[in-house]
Amino acid sequence: MGKLDKQLALKLLKQMMEIRKFEDKVMELLAKNIAEGGSHLYAGMEATGVGAISVLREDDYITSTHRGHGHAIAKDGDLKTLMAEILGKRTGVCKGKGGSLHLADLSKGNLGANGIVGGGIGIATGAGLSIKMQKQDKVVICFFGDGATNNGIFFECLNMASLWKLPVIYLCENNKYGMSVSVERASSVKDLTKKALAFGIPSESVDGQDVLAVREVVGKWVENARKGNGPAFIVSNTYRYYGHSRSDPRIYRTREEEKFWRERDPILIFSSKMKEMGILTEEEIKEIDKLTDKEIEEATEYAINSPDPEPEELYTDLYA
């Protein structure tokens, strides 16, 4: 885990801004019907994905979720091919066959977003097994939401990972709601960290709006796993700004609650802190902001102007 210096601060801030602006842009494209289908937006949760992935090496793996744009960007994703994929274009990272729910880039260690809640947990656990069998020192971060902790595969895989001491960090992004149903209404145990106790897996919660806090906690357990000491379970407390998807009227949560969380905005928290600590100046922050705006515009233009897949591509890429 690198020391907090200007270079690292710039990287963390830039990635969080990229995700925020990317998601705002996707929302805009959805509203204009330029983007079709569903998209679950990561805005508000940037500190968790960016902080956690920032402690990984390039050759480490992640598995992502249905809310996966942020993870894909943080795992060194290319804004242009990601945006093109969301529009279902041939130039997309998955050639227009995956879409928002299936952003993946194995060359960058991203084993994929997933349309099934908990769908990445098996893959992550298997990647951990594979690492162990090949005697590598890689680590997997397995992202999932609070809703997935009520799903069977979560329990099956945590048991296996603990039994075989697999290098997997199970990172629960607790954004309080599984679509509309709150953790309180869905989980018998409200403190989700307790769910790991049954498997003898160490667990810890973290302020998911503070990128440095996420880095510290995830970094500690990643290094522990890299040494062969097995999995950890981390609950990152966070919040999604947008609804579950574009059609969500957000009737299950209050505007006061939304305001409370928006005041705990991960980008604002980090920017202020960097200014206070004298690591970044207001001008530098504005400059990154402007640069990111430009990159998002370029990515959007690239995506919109990209061709659709050719009809004959319907049957390609199914079998090796």
């Binding site: 995956g98 993946a104 099934i116 893959i123 656990t125 298997g126 097994l129 048991n159 199914l318 079998y319």
Partner: protein, 324 residues
């Protein structure tokens, strides 16, 4: 040529592939110390140890999901689902993850994963240990489905399955494990997706697979004495289906009986029959006949179990019917 059992043929296939490629490993319930519920992996744990022959918890969904993760990241798992009846427990992983991941990712990954399982009736094990669920699987693009009937095919096809960079569900039959047949000492593989004419004939084509191939051959032998010449085509792979071999046989005989152990409605035979109609309708001189499993949960009673799946007499009756 030496004769070995279907079980031994499968065991040799896995053993040889494990020797050949260090990335191959066995993963499933009771596969290590116990050697598999039907003994297919017997002896391999002693030979290769815990690292490559792994007993898993009873967690079918995690077995398939984890095997997929390992396959994506450099390993070549041979996972076992003890009974095909348990496949419902891992259908999400199989259908939503294993089968689709390569396509969803634009072809940018390989899934060298073999899932061995075993199905079929015959041991009076009742409704949860006797099913034939292959039709569920051929409905999922992205996986291949292999169902061998004899030791020679079992070995050659399993070796090919393990070497293939695609996910394959390899369905054995519990009543075939003790059946012996000729298997060469020398190494060989068989191509996936190619049917085999197990017996040539000129009057009627039987299209079948797995254990029903043996029943069909017995029926054909008996019918021969009555002057009826039956060709028996063993599909061996259900997806992709070898249409060419099927059509060539239909062109010769002009009459088709499909013999399948699975439930008739929505069964594999329906797909086989439509493939014939789509590709060889003009050559048919009579409607296709299906001799299939009854549309009931498999009953325990020996008497009822026998009635629930095709037998030699019913296959013979089907052949005579198509000749009317």
């Amino acid at each position: 040529m030496r004769e070995i059992t279907y079980r031994q043929a499968l065991n040799e296939a896995i053993d040889e592939e494990m020797q050949r490629d260090k990335k191959v490993f066995i993963f499933g319930e009771d596969v290590a110390i116990y050697g598999g519920v039907y003994g297919v992996t017997a002896g391999l744990w002693k030979k290769y140890g815990d690292e490559r022959v792994m007993d898993t918890p009873i967690s079918e969904n995690a077995i398939v999901g984890t095997a997929l993760g390992a396959a994506l990241t450099g390993m070549r798992p041979v996972a076992e689902i003890m009974y095909i009846d348990f496949i419902g427990l891992c259908m999400d992983q199989l259908n939503n993850q294993v089968a689709k991941i390569r396509y969803m990712f634009g072809g940018k990954c390989k899934v060298p994963l073999t899932i061995r399982t075993e199905g079929g009736a015959g041991r009076t094990l009742g409704a949860h240990h006797s099913q034939s669920l292959e039709s569920w699987l051929i409905h999922i693009p992205g996986i291949k489905v292999v169902m061998p009937s004899i030791p020679y095919d079992a070995k050659g096809l399993l070796k090919s399955a393990i070497r293939e960079d695609n996910p394959i569900v390899f369905i054995e039959h519990k009543m075939l494990y003790n059946i012996k047949g000729p298997v060469p000492e020398e190494e060989y593989t068989l191509p996936i997706g190619i049917a085999d004419v197990k017996k040539e004939g000129k009057d009627v084509t039987i299209l079948t697979y797995s254990r029903m191939t043996l029943f069909s051959l017995k029926a054909a032998e008996e019918l021969e004495k009555e002057g009826i010449s039956v060709e028996v085509v063993d599909l061996r792979t259900l997806f992709p289906m070898d249409i060419e071999t099927m059509v060539n046989s239909v062109k010769k005989t002009n009459r088709v009986v499909i013999v399948e152990e699975d439930c008739k409605t929505g069964g594999t035979g329906a797909e086989i029959g439509m493939k014939v109609i789509e590709n060889a309708f003009d050559y048919l001189d009579a409607p296709i006949i299906r001799v299939a499993g009854a549309d009931v949960p498999m009953p325990k009673s020996r008497v009822l179990e026998k009635l629930a799946i095709p037998d030699v007499e019913r296959i013979k009756a089907g052949v005579k019917e198509v000749l009317k």
